[in-house]
Symmetry: C2
Subunit: 695 residues, 2 copies
């Protein structure tokens, strides 16, 4: 064992505890803020209840899924229980379940805080932008700290207790299988509500987004929480765990080394969390500053602190390599660059958004066509960035010895995700202030407060583009290292069977090529299934809204005693999301299993590669095009190209509606789909080696 590893296990647990304490402090701080407006209290209560209802019902479904998976894992993984080691299979199940539970807890608490912060942010917005920003941001930070704390604690505990990195993959699979459904389910819920509310409210009636007459308005606000807070939290929990797990699996395969590889992984994760805590503690809107600048500058502060701390650690500790530091720094820098280029394509002060808004004057077809085009182009810088980061990290670490090159890539992913605490805080801030804006309107807090809330909201949208770019980039690097992890798992199985080992996956091998083509199709089909799910679900909800407008007297005209039945809409979104989330996820998992049993490890290597490549491309395309359309619509609504009600506005609204499931349902779910598929492949590698037809 590495000399200082116990130290780092200890420090991991301590740092996680510190993060939990700080999160608790922030939670209590947010809770202390007062809400007086009765209407806000009432509505925020409705949102909270709606979110809890959905989460409860979703977790019930996922518990069944996890139980079934648990049984399958016990029977089959890491090797069939009838000729394997019962204890090992049992610890695999335990790790798997721990992964699902921690993910669920992080999501649940995130929702709790978010639904607490929204009303308090709205109320604080009466006092100005500074206090309101602080409430919104700190609410989000609770989620950020929890997610990172849970992942660090979980990974350290599993490895400390079992010493077996394969079991760690089980933990990671628990996290990601839950994330897949949480992200997809939440994404379907939120966009069902959003799209239906927009269609019936803005388009048909010409009323405002958060008009309380609209029966879907509460569901829309609930959706922000279950999709963006809980779903996104589960997603980044999953990415973070997967990045650490794959780095640790590779580190453990580098035996007899003079480097402290495992220690470096933990040390970087610890320092990233510390840097995030400092960044979070110091974030505020200063004099002459704006919320956007506050969010961005705290990200930069966190990055700087992380780089300095890890450099110090490299100086201090034996067996820490500057090459690894370079790989991690490269990852982090490339993450920034991806974020900034994403911003260029989606920020409404930059030319692209303006062009799409201008194209809307010729009609919706041009909004769609130009958005699709720029969405495709926007993928290029990120793809190049990931490619270059992988190449640099690989070349930096290759001289350290056999197997280190792929470890370098894994550490680039760890580096990119090191500041994930900060990233999640920024990301969770978005739905909180979005809700706050709605509450300010529904509570009738007046023009000035709504304006403040609008400014907070717009910062959330801008920052979201960057954090999404970041998380897709990190997922890209993580899955490359998961491909490495898969190869080392497959080779372990091949060695046991006395078969020749894999040295790589040659694209000229038709079995690999077969896998590549099918793997590349999966993200396309997966995202299509989710979008169609939103589509079907929204049609149900629109029908319900029409029914309410027809059958509840006075509702359309806003009579005081005409109350819409918000609960029915929440119910439709919930039922529909749960019905639609399972098939897409299962399709991806089954495709992996089928390809594996047909073509064996070579086909799976190709499958994972194809999946990564097209997954990255499609998710970048969808996330960026969606963000672009959203901001083009906002740009028009701000009075450009004819402003609200113009031909351009109608077209921009159609673009935004197309973009909604792109950017909030399908795009970000693809990340998780890739991770799940990679982990399934690694976990089943023994079976694929033993039972494939052409393998």
């Amino acid at each position: 064992m590495e000399k200082n590893l116990s130290l780092f296990y200890g420090l991991s647990i301590l740092t996680a505890a510190l993060a939990f304490f700080f999160a608790a402090y922030l939670y209590l701080w947010v809770k202390r803020q007062r809400v007086q407006n009765a209407r806000i209290l009432e509505v925020s209560q409705l949102i909270k209840e709606g979110a809890n209802t959905f989460m409860q019902r979703e977790y019930k479904v996922l518990a069944i899924f996890a139980a079934v998976m648990g049984v399958l894992i016990f029977l089959l993984l890491p090797s069939p229980v009838w000729h394997g080691n019962v204890l090992q299979n049992a610890s695999m199940v335990a790790a798997y379940l721990a992964g699902t539970v921690l993910s669920a807890i992080a999501g649940k608490i995130g929702i709790l805080v978010a639904t607490l912060s929204n009303s308090r942010t709205a109320e604080s917005a009466r006092k100005g932008i500074k206090p309101a920003f602080l409430v919104g941001f700190r609410g989000g930070a609770v989620m950020g700290l929890l997610v990172v704390g849970c992942s660090l604690l979980g990974v350290a505990a599993v490895l400390m207790l079992t010493g077996d990195s394969t079991v760690l993959l089980g933990f990671s699979f628990g996290a990601s299988s839950l994330a897949l459904f949480a992200k997809a389910g939440g994404g379907i819920f939120t966009k069902t509500a959003d799209v239906s509310a927009d269609l019936t409210g803005k388009v048909e009636l010409g009323i405002d987004e958060d008009d309380p007459r609209n029966p879907a308005v509460i569901a829309d606000n609930v959706g922000d929480n279950v999709g963006d807070v809980a779903g996104m939290g589960a997603d980044l929990f999953d990415s973070n765990v997967a990045a650490m797990a794959s780095a640790l699996v590779i580190a453990q395969s580098l035996t007899g080394s003079r480097y402290a590889n495992l220690s470096m992984v933990f040390c970087y994760a610890i320092l990233g969390l510390l840097a995030s805590i400092i960044g979070i503690a110091t974030a505020r809107v200063g004099e002459n500053s704006t919320p956007t600048r506050a969010l961005n500058s705290s990200t930069y502060v966190t990055t700087g602190i992380f780089l300095v701390l890890t450099a110090l650690a490299t100086l201090i500790f034996d067996g820490f390599s500057w090459r690894v530091w370079g790989a991690a720094a490269t990852g982090l820098m490339v993450g920034m660059i991806i974020g900034i280029t994403t911003d260029y394509f989606t920020d409404d002060t930059k030319p692209i958004v303006k062009r799409v808004a201008h194209a809307s004057e010729s009609g919706a077809a041009f909004t769609v066509l130009s958005g699709v085009s720029y969405g495709f182009i926007s993928a290029l810088p990120a793809m190049v960035g990931i490619a270059v980061a992988a190449l640099i990290a690989y070349r930096l670490c290759a001289p350290m010895g056999e197997g280190y090159a792929i470890f370098g890539i894994a550490m680039a992913a760890v580096g990119m995700l090191s500041i994930v605490g900060m990233i999640i805080s920024n990301d969770a801030y978005g739905p909180i202030v979005d809700n706050a804006r709605g509450l300010a309107e529904m509570g009738g807090l007046g023009e000035e407060t709504i304006r403040v809330a609008d400014e907070l909201d717009s910062a959330g949208n801008t920052v979201k583009a960057i954090t999404k770019g970041f998380s897709i980039g990190a997922a890209g690097l993580t899955v490359i290292s998961l491909l490495g992890a898969f190869m080392s798992e497959a080779n372990a199985a091949l060695a046991k069977d006395g078969k020749p080992l894999l040295t790589g996956f040659d694209v000229m091998n038709p079995t690999v090529f077969f896998g590549i083509l099918i793997g590349a199709s999966i993200p396309a089909v997966f995202s299509a299934m989710l979008i169609l799910g939103v589509d079907r679900n929204a049609q149900r909800m629109v029908a319900e809204i029409h029914r309410q407008f027809q059958s509840i007297p006075g509702l359309r005209d806003g009579k005081a005693d005409a109350k819409p039945e918000y609960g029915r809409c929440i119910d439709i979104a919930t039922t529909g999301a749960l019905r639609e989330l399972i098939p897409a996820g299962l399709m991806a998992i089954l495709a992996t299993v089928i390809v594996g049993f047909i073509g064996g490890p070579s086909a799976i290597g190709g499958f994972l590669l194809g999946n990564i490549v097209s997954g990255l491309l499609i998710s970048l395309f969808m996330s960026n095009a969606g963000g672009l359309w959203d901001n083009a619509k906002k740009y028009v609504e701000a009075g450009n190209e004819g402003g609200k009600g113009s031909r351009a506005h109608k077209a921009a609204v159609i673009g935004d509606t197309v973009g909604d499931p792109f950017k909030d349902t399908a795009g970000p779910s693809i990340n998780t789909q890739i991770t799940v598929v990679s982990l399934v492949a690694s976990l089943l590698s023994t079976l694929f080696v033993a039972f494939s037809i052409f393998g």
Copy 2:
């Protein structure tokens, strides 16, 4: 040399001559049909002139491009002229120029016949569906026969004269560099005109598609010819040449073999052309039949004859292998399957089109979302089909010896393209009858004639989906074999430099991976650039149409003496297409060169793979989604979901407008982009080996 090779050279030239004679016979037959309607004569003359103007100006630009390329090739390829063989470089240039010239001739004559057939088809439609079908189909067949005859003649002549398959790649590059621009330029022209005509005519004024008041209506008809006839012909000429060339390059590398590999390639091409001639000669609408059935059944007849003839050849000739026959048959069968699944997604008698039409009732956003989703899903069967075909062909031929596996894949591509003569005939039939429909309307031939023309046109649309699926599938297999051709070229260069040979492209090698990620982005960026080109160009044309409606008195109301200035619209489309076509093509070529000089042959191997995979996915997605939207609109216009003028119809029109550049500009151009990039890579392999930074 193989025993019977001279025989097959001779037969190739004879068969090509037979195809030319038959084409000449059909041309004269079409020409003999009479046109009496003065208005039709006038309009068809306008179309012809417009098409010729565009072709002349396009070929002028392309001649400059070809000349520059010719000089570069002479200086650099296959090796720098200052330390290479001047004669070899000169024959390379000659082959390159021959490729461009043959491609241009095929396009030019295709246009000539198509613009001749359209008026004659319209006139014959007065006599009923059977004679009109024959005129339209035989006009298209002239193009089909010419393209296949030219490619067979060219390939046989180049190989016979030089005996050097690298020079053959030069010929293929000539064909594909011209095709890239012809397809992209024609695609931009046709969709500029189509979109502008629809936007101003159908959407703004509510007048019919072919209403002669619309200044863009002639440009729209010209576009059908320059995009679908000339562009598509150049595209399939290119695919066909590339498939044969890559098979021949690989066959020539299989030295000292007991198989007659080169002979098999030529024999299959010859028999495919013969089968197509028989299929074309027998195609007609029988009793109780429809144009769609006539087109499809002649495709099946051709396929059957090809399979029987090649089986006979395998029995008769020494060194012909049943395994190769199996590979070719697999390719052909998979082509059929891809066609049929494509049809499922785009035929308006099948459920998918109906669903998209139904979704349109909720607004354009749902038309777009459901079309995008089904477009993505529709890529899956084709991707699986190509993957399975490659796997089967590889496994069939691998036992024949080292290097035969990849030859098997190349022969699957040759098999899939064997019936390309028939495919092109079907495909060129489409724009001819589309034009005929317009002419029937403009010539005032009455309801019944327009109904007949409509039926012919609708068959053209249905068949188009199948032929597009076919050509994308063939391109997929061809480029896999081009990847093999690239590796053998790169290894020849590496061997000369005394460097270690490539054994494949391992995705775990970060240089390969770097190439994959960038290669995968290129089709996305390429298609985006083309779509934005259409977008910009259409905005210019719409402005011009508005100007005409405002400044020409009585035009809007259809007064007899108010003539629109059709020429100005044609001019805008021409100038714009030429301005927009170069950057996208150059971008793809430059990206290849940059990646090659950075990462050397390994990076290029990855680059080509990424390019193939994402190119296939995106082009299948775009072609199918576009076809789906087109037919969903037609389905609504046929009176479903509220029919013309309904909310669903408005939404379906937006979907169709989005789909237009998808299916007729970007989607089908990606094929050519992939081929060009593969050939550039093969041709520059010597330079990449010598001068790359990280190679």
